[in-house]
Symmetry: C2
Subunit: 156 residues, 2 copies
């Protein structure tokens, strides 16, 4: 008697690869949309928005190194972005009392105002781009992503 042949299913590893590519495609698509909106409607960029967003969240400001760690980008990168935002009066560099090496980046009132305007639009763009997702979809998706994220956190 021939051995039973199990129905050939795609190996889990291939399925994971496939869903990864889909994940990447989805996120790239959304991100491209956001970048375009930021550029066309507000003459700004995603990295600038990210910096402003971080500084808005920490209203006392962040040291340059804290900012780069929070955003997971290099130190040199935030230097450049904060330079530009400073020139435009949206961000201020404040000396840290007692440590002349360090500087704190803070939003100016003008910067905060600009960010709030951006944030409102940003939320609405995202809402459009993710229009099909129900509360249940979101809940399930969120749990699934938590699995991956906690796995990432372990490895650090």
């Amino acid at each position: 008697m021939k051995p039973e042949i199990a129905p050939t299913t795609e190996p889990l590893s291939k399925a994971r690869l496939r869903v990864w590519l889909k994940l990447l495609k989805t996120v790239n698509g959304v991100e491209t949309g956001i970048r375009r909106n930021l550029r066309d409607d507000h003459q700004t960029t995603l990295p600038r928005f990210d910096v402003m967003s971080a500084l808005a969240r920490f209203s006392d400001g962040l040291k340059m190194s804290e900012l780069s760690k929070f955003l997971k980008v290099s130190n040199g990168n935030v230097t450049g972005i904060v330079d530009k935002l400073s020139e435009e009066g949206l961000v201020l560099r404040v000396a840290v009392p007692g440590d002349r090496r360090a500087q704190i980046a803070r939003l100016t009132p003008k910067g905060l105002e600009a960010f709030e305007e951006l944030a409102e639009h940003h939320e609405s763009w995202i809402n459009n781009l993710l229009e099909g997702l129900s509360v249940d979809d979101i809940e399930t998706l969120s749990s699934t992503l938590d699995v991956v994220l906690s796995h990432q956190a372990e490895k650090e």
Copy 2:
């Protein structure tokens, strides 16, 4: 009698924003892992891998413009990457008979061999990074992403 106050739930728009940020964080984490692996274990980069991957899929090669369209990057971008890969003997530029403007980029045997090595490792990295995801998780995730992707496709 007082009117019933519905329990204040987070607006759908905020929930979508929140899950978007989580999606972004997840994908960035995985992508960072892949880039690090490509660099540390194979002295290469993600854009190079992407180009090789596209050329491996189309074994007859792709015109430069087809390649840039497929990868959704600019023409000039692939020119530079293909230049480098050519110098290293991994990719070949072939004239298109009947159209002297066009060129077809193809993997060399050496390039194909290098890619297959990379692809095997890549699949295993992804498999590790997405380790917690079951077949069911993947199925559900895939359907959810399809919702967003089809919405994206509409807008083009």
